[in-house]
Symmetry: none
Subunit: 275 residues, 2 copies
DNA sequence: AAAGCCGTTTTCACGATATGAAAAATGCAA
DNA sequence: TTGCATTTTTCATATCGTGAAAACGGCTTT
């Protein structure tokens, strides 16, 4: 299987000789590296795979996969569990990946704001950004309650079925909204999911009007989520902040109250970003 | 019933033909892949590098580095910032790396670190977190000595009278410290317990300065304990690791020596958490 | 404005090296 | 034991990654 193709919009303005985008077969990618990364990605998706399985499922020879794994193991990017005889993603992959967050100081700045939000509301606070047409959850502060919403950082979720996603969509103009939803089908995860484009537009208008988005069991049954957008210095919505909790604690009558805290937190964070 | 008295930390052998460990030069690693991963790692360490810089500093040809970057870009593992003309770690690297955490919990990851710590020091190693204003001991590896410190996992202990507790308190800012101690009285368990708030603050300053906390018979007469904080990806102190033993073996003159091992173990564990 | 500089991307020819088949070496099951 | 499954190594082959240098544009300088 070949990797994802390049985003057609936003052409790169490189300094030197421009890239030949017409060549669809991506002539100057390194095949062996791409195949190795395919194994790497595949391994991350399916934790704990044996060599043979991995070779079969990525459609490569066991010898090649073996050498890829040994090479990556040398750098700690993958690990071999001697007891279970299985390969796993290694700690170094985590360390490297986590540095993605360091680029923008967003996550660091958000930390105290999120902690305060969690303490005020008693619910798990989340921070998410848009990446590749999906919501990427980059950070969270968990509630101390035993029943809690749990989004491991690094989780991806469709925009239309997430509070943060809708908060971000609501801030886009028509052209960007069009692009963001292009080719996407509004998948239903629960009976409450929004699957109709017009319904989504209507919801987004409401979100924009009141300043916060609600995910009422649209992604997971039994979970509600209230989100607000975070603006940077250019007044662009760069992230969303939310609280999420079980319907038992986050009732429909609690939404109004919680939204105040969420919007305040989002405004706080926006302020530290110059928004 | 079959009684097994096998050494606890002996790794089971691999199923197939065993690896040839004698070959120091790691003959069956893929050179090109390793070089590519070097660029990948290097990029993660130094955010925002231009192609030429990257090529110079990893000592490879610009053409090669370019192809590596374009290949990784195709999978979202790296990103090119068109505005700044710089390469960065990409979101997919974060997504993949984050899956590392799903495999094991803090406790499981701490296990080998604690075992090594116990073997180095000869004393019982403990792992504790803060929960509801107290220290919760979640795991331990016991020494083989007959006289041993024993904390059943699940034990709760006040923060001010525990090495781990003080290591955690020392990392809090004033506001959090205030809240953590709010309404708590500094109960005396032994004549050595710290009962005065100012004395505690002074001790915490010392803890922060030298990087480890000492519980010198403050909770139990005849027991000393040396603890260091464990940091997660956000550089927040999420746990503490310690060794504890009887005063007969853990003399005041041993503290300095033991603290080295404890801090090393804490740093090790922090590293696998991304700290 | 034109020319020069600089960094990026592509072309091209060469040979280093990645590759798969098969063999070797082990554990596990019968 | 023998057989089967799985991992690791060997080896011959040609794929494909590599570096030098040229091509291309943006940016700066005259």
């Amino acid at each position: 299987m070949v990797s994802q193709d390049n985003p057609p919009s936003e052409p790169r303005r490189a300094r030197g000789r421009p890239r030949d985008w017409s060549d669809k077969t991506a002539q100057n990618t390194i095949k062996s590296l791409d195949r190795a990364m395919e194994v790497f990605e595949f391994l991350s998706e399916h934790q704990g795979k044996a060599l043979t399985t991995l070779a079969t499922e990525t459609d490569q020879s066991p010898a090649t996969v073996y050498r890829i794994l040994v090479t990556l193991e040398g750098r700690g990017l993958v690990e071999f569990d001697a007891v279970e005889q299985l390969w796993h993603i290694g700690p170094r992959a985590f360390v490297i990946g986590a540095r993605f967050l360091r680029r923008t100081s967003l996550v660091e700045r958000a930390r105290p704001v999120m902690r305060r939000l969690m303490e005020q509301t008693g619910e798990t606070a989340n921070l998410g950004i848009e990446r590749g047409g999906q919501v990427l959850f980059v950070s969270q502060v968990e509630t101390e309650a035993t029943i809690r919403a749990f989004f491991p950082p690094g989780t991806l979720s469709p925009m239309h079925a997430s509070g943060i996603g809708k908060a971000l969509l609501a801030e886009m103009d028509d052209a960007r909204l069009q692009r963001a939803l292009a080719g996407k089908t509004l998948t239903a995860f629960t009976p409450h999911s929004i699957t109709d484009l017009n319904a989504l537009r209507a919801d987004l208008a409401q979100v924009r009007a009141r300043g916060y988005a609600v995910d009422a069991e649209e992604r997971n049954i039994g979970m509600r989520c209230i989100a607000a957008p975070v603006f940077d210095i250019h007044q662009e919505a760069v992230a969303g902040i939310s609280v999420s909790g079980p319907t038992s604690r986050v009732g429909l009558e609690d939404i109004e109250r919680l939204s105040v805290a969420v919007r305040a937190a989002a405004a706080d964070l926006s302020a530290t970003l110059g928004g």
